[in-house]
């Protein structure tokens, strides 16, 4: 292990390369195991597992979005679930229209729930929703626009810290209540479901599922690359500076609110994309996704993984989601105890999360290497002086 980490290839790799390499290898592995090995083989990965992994990757992208604003800009958003859900609804609208006349009521234009409500035509905001390009635009524009409006209002009046957190929570709560209303035109309580196909491919087929999984991995890699680029750019430095001392940044002559709005919008779009990828894989989107509890869970992933590292968010999202899947299956009673305990313990004992352990380990390694090196150098100088 030590040798592997010390090997020149790994040393040259930045975390970006490393994450993308891990993603690539695991996606390749899962795809091969799913396609090549027959069912029953020890190496086979079932379709269910593929979908589940796809879901985890969506969560990872979502956690990445939160880490970008929280870890690097100090904005603790308790409403990122709203952006995720909005992206999901944009995708859901498109999938809903793809059902066409195969719905229960067989109406080629209107989704079932609208027929059920005796609506005669599509509301204006559903216009063009059967077009994939419009859908993609909506996935970006919906969350992005909301984040822009909310961010501009909030950051310009210098709402920050816990006030901002509570306001984001109120925002997602208000959206939750709105989407529960049938009049809103998004299926009310039941949300959008019963999807049939995406881009002409059946959602039931294992191939589509695998393709969606791969697409999620690709988008996660892109999202990671974008985030990595942003935080290492000059702009990213300013954002980090805002996190650490907003007033100083302002006095130096920057406008912190512009940077904050900008990073908030990018993060919201990432969350929206995650939501759009999530919906076809789980087959439903309903107002429950807006619930404040969901948004707080995302924050927990990031906290557990380690904020301000990007890769920590991915680790946190995947580890906690996996634990949730396992625990809720084995002993559903204990899950909330476990999750609640995790919150408390991580904030008390592991303020840097899992990534903190990794960093500590690496530092130790580095320092021991340095010691060795300096020892050698010392010996060399001693030898020279002799």
């Amino acid at each position: 292990m030590k040798n592997l980490l010390n090997s020149p290839i790994v040393k040259k790799m930045s975390s970006l390369h490393f994450v993308i390499a891990v993603l690539f290898i695991s996606t390749l592995y899962v795809s091969i195991c799913n396609l090549v090995f027959p069912e029953g083989s020890a190496l086979h990965v079932s379709n269910y597992t593929v979908s589940l992994l796809g879901k985890y990757l969506c969560y990872a992208l979502l956690a990445l979005a939160v880490d970008l604003v929280w870890g690097y800009c100090g904005i603790l958003s308790l409403g990122h679930g709203a952006f995720f859900a909005l992206g999901g609804y944009a995708m859901g609208m498109y999938l809903m229209r793809q059902i066409g006349d195969r719905g229960v009521y067989g109406n080629p234009e209107l989704p079932d729930f609208m027929v059920f409500l005796n609506w005669t035509e599509l509301p204006w905001y559903w216009a063009g929703s059967d077009n994939a390009l419009v859908m993609i635009l909506l996935v970006f524009a919906g969350p992005g626009l909301l984040a822009f409006i909310f961010g501009t209002l909030a950051f310009r009046s210098r709402v920050s810290g816990v006030y901002l957190s509570i306001m984001t929570q109120a925002m997602t709560y208000a959206l939750l209540l709105s989407f529960f209303r049938n009049e809103m035109g998004f299926g009310g309580n039941n949300g959008l479901t019963d999807f049939k196909e995406i881009f002409g491919f059946s959602l039931q087929s294992p191939d589509t599922k695998l393709a969606l999984f791969i697409a999620t991995a690709v988008f996660l890699a892109i999202g990671y690359a974008v985030s990595h680029f942003i935080v290492n750019s000059k702009m990213g430095r300013v954002v980090t500076a805002i996190r650490d001392a907003e007033n100083r940044v302002r006095f130096v002559g920057y406008k912190p609110e512009h940077y904050k709005v900008w990073i908030f919008v990018v993060s919201a779009i990432l969350a929206g994309v995650a939501g759009a990828l999530y919906v076809p894989q789980v087959g439903i989107i309903n107002p429950g996704e807006f619930s404040p509890l969901n948004s707080i869970e995302i924050v927990i992933w990031v906290a557990i993984g380690g904020r301000g590292t990007l890769y920590g968010a991915l680790i946190g999202a995947i580890v906690v989601s996996y634990a949730k899947t396992r625990f809720t299956a084995i002993m559903p009673e204990a899950w909330l105890f476990g999750l609640g305990g995790l919150f408390v313990l991580v904030t008390l004992l592991l303020p840097k999360g899992i990534a903190g352990i990794v960093i500590n380990f690496m530092d130790k390694m580095d320092s021991s290497n340095e010691k060795q090196a300096s020892k050698l150098a010392d010996e060399a100088t001693i030898a020279e002086t002799k």
Binding site: I166, R181, I296, L336, G341
Partner: protein
């Protein structure tokens, strides 16, 4: 003694009146009429019942009430007419309706029911109402008059005509005149109708409005009815205007009661968040604990339901306060100066508490009984009645608010709390134990949340999710009012509650809630420090 009779009979019906009955057993047609009851056919019953009622003896009620409710029997062997009620041993307790003498319990087979039908029951109801009109208790008279107004019958109206002049109670007199005016409006000639319509414009009973509307609808379109038509229209619009005023008052009342619920929920938070700067996401769960404490107390003392709420208030304060101190000592003190981490850790605690309650009490909602004095409503006029539970909650929340204000302003604890919140280092230099003050403050805030839970147990379902529903709202109240300002919290809670309830009738509860949320978010953008921002050095 005689004056007391109707009263006694009204409350105890046929029971236990034997001691006083003997006095009036003089010459009476009643025993004879009673004897006829078992043998009379159903279709001959009506005149007999009338005759019984005509005797106007106080005992009539003891006969007719069980007859109406199907509890009047006769003993097969002796033809003695009795009222019979099933007891716990599946036998029937008998009471002679005339002598009010208690007889030994018997099996069902030895007695036979005296049958009635719906028509007879209606007749008896009218007759009993008529009896009530002559009652000496004004409350009974008023109740009977109200019934008569809604369902007029000839006998009743005749007696009202007779009794009107001698009535002494103002409210009863008012009701009587309303009844007579409605009759005049319906049956009188056109001039009588005109004057009745004029006078009825100030009466708020719904029946009056219905009668007026009915008259207006049935009025032929002729010239001579023009004046009457105008008067009717005027009276109806008068009544509607008053109705809208009272509807507004009622909405305001609802708003205030919702506001006081918010106040109760937010006031503990105003201390922990406002004074200490600690975000306590488990605040809602402290309320939940308070509500469950109420439930446990009711389970422990099932015979003292009337007092259970009074006992629950201190108990809930102690339970939630104790848990609050534990949380502060165990978790929060290690997170000083890291508000976002505190938020996460307390959220974790809230999840644990919820699951704990789910494990102990089951995830289902628990039933908390409402004591008698909380149920019912205070009727101000026929259009406006205020329910007692809401009224008490408004009073209770204000009491809690002011006692908290007193504690913070006038006690040495309050002095220490304010000192620590303004300048921790300086306070410590002056030998205030800041860590001790923190624990107590947090306990106080949590304890008040527990007390709020007791009040909430009377309004909503007591379940594991009780607290979650209030946490966002209460944070918004505190931020809206201005952090660290208790008066701001009061104003904010009442404003939010009233605003919500005024919007509600026109747009439904969900949309009203959304609009309130959105406007609050926008308000905070404009004034990030709330309605009453803290000034001076303490603000930073």
């Amino acid at each position: 003694m005689l004056r007391l009779f109707p009263l006694l009979f009204f409350f105890v019906l046929s029971f236990n009146a034997s001691a006083v009955v003997s006095e009036i057993q003089g010459e009476s047609a009643l025993p004879e009429l009673i004897e006829q009851l078992p043998s009379t056919k159903l279709n001959k019953m009506a005149p007999l019942i009338d005759k019984i009622a005509d005797t106007s003896e106080p005992k009539v009620r003891a006969i007719l009430t069980p007859l109406m409710e199907g509890d009047l029997y006769y003993v097969k062997a002796s033809k003695q007419v009795v009222s019979a009620y099933k007891n716990t041993e599946n036998q029937y307790d008998l009471t002679d309706v005339f002598t009010a003498e208690t007889l030994p319990a018997v099996k069902k087979s030895t007695i036979k029911k005296i049958r009635t039908n719906n028509r007879l029951r209606g007749q008896i109801r009218d007759l009993l109402g008529n009896l009530d009109l002559k009652s000496t208790d004004p409350e009974v008279r008023i109740a009977a008059l109200k019934l008569l107004l809604d369902k007029p019958n000839e006998t009743g109206i005749n007696s009202v005509n007779k009794l009107f002049k001698s009535e002494e109670d103002d409210e009863a007199r008012e009701l009587m005149s309303t009844i007579l005016l409605v009759q005049q409006l319906e049956n009188g000639d056109i001039d009588e109708k005109l004057s009745a319509a004029k006078q009825l414009s100030s009466r708020l009973e719904p029946t009056v409005k219905n009668a007026l509307v009915k008259q207006l609808d049935n009025l032929p379109k002729e010239d001579e009815t023009k004046a009457l038509r105008a008067t009717l229209t005027n009276s109806i619009s008068d009544i509607e205007q008053q109705a809208s005023v009272f509807a507004l008052v009622e909405n305001l009342f609802f708003g205030l009661s919702l506001g006081s619920v918010l106040l109760l929920a937010a006031i503990g938070l105003a201390i922990t968040f406002g004074v200490m700067g600690v975000i306590n996401m488990a605040h809602g769960e402290m309320m939940m604990l308070g509500a469950y404490t109420t439930y446990v107390i009711q389970q422990m003392f099932p015979n003292l339901i009337e007092y259970s709420l009074l006992m629950a208030v201190p108990a809930a304060f102690l339970v939630s306060g104790f848990v609050g101190v534990l949380i502060e000592r165990g978790v929060i003190r290690f997170l000083k100066g890291r508000p976002l981490e505190t938020l996460l850790a307390t959220f974790g605690i809230s999840l644990i508490l919820q699951q704990l309650v789910r494990t102990i009490f089951s995830p289902l909602n628990r039933q908390v009984e409402a004591p008698m004095w909380m149920s019912g409503s205070l009727e101000i006029n026929p259009m406006l009645s205020l329910t007692y539970n809401r009224l008490y909650i408004i009073i209770f929340s204000l009491m809690v608010f002011f006692s908290l204000l007193m504690i913070l302003k006038n006690s040495s604890l309050g002095l220490h709390v304010r000192a620590v919140s303004q300048n921790r280092d300086m306070a410590r230099a002056l030998s205030v134990k800041s860590s001790w003050v923190d624990a107590i403050t947090f306990g106080l805030g949590s304890g008040i949340a527990g007390v709020a839970g007791v009040a909430l147990s009377q309004l909503t379902n007591v379940g594991p999710n009780l607290g979650q529903a209030y946490i966002i709202d209460s944070f918004l109240v505190v931020v809206f009012g201005g952090v660290g300002n208790l008066w701001g919290t009061l104003v904010a809670a009442m404003t939010m509650g009233t605003f919500n309830k005024i919007l509600e009738p026109s747009m439904g509860p969900v949309l009203a809630n959304i609009i309130v949320l959105v406007s609050l978010v926008l308000f905070i953008q404009k004034r990030p420090k709330g309605l009453f921002p803290q000034k001076g050095r303490a603000a930073e």
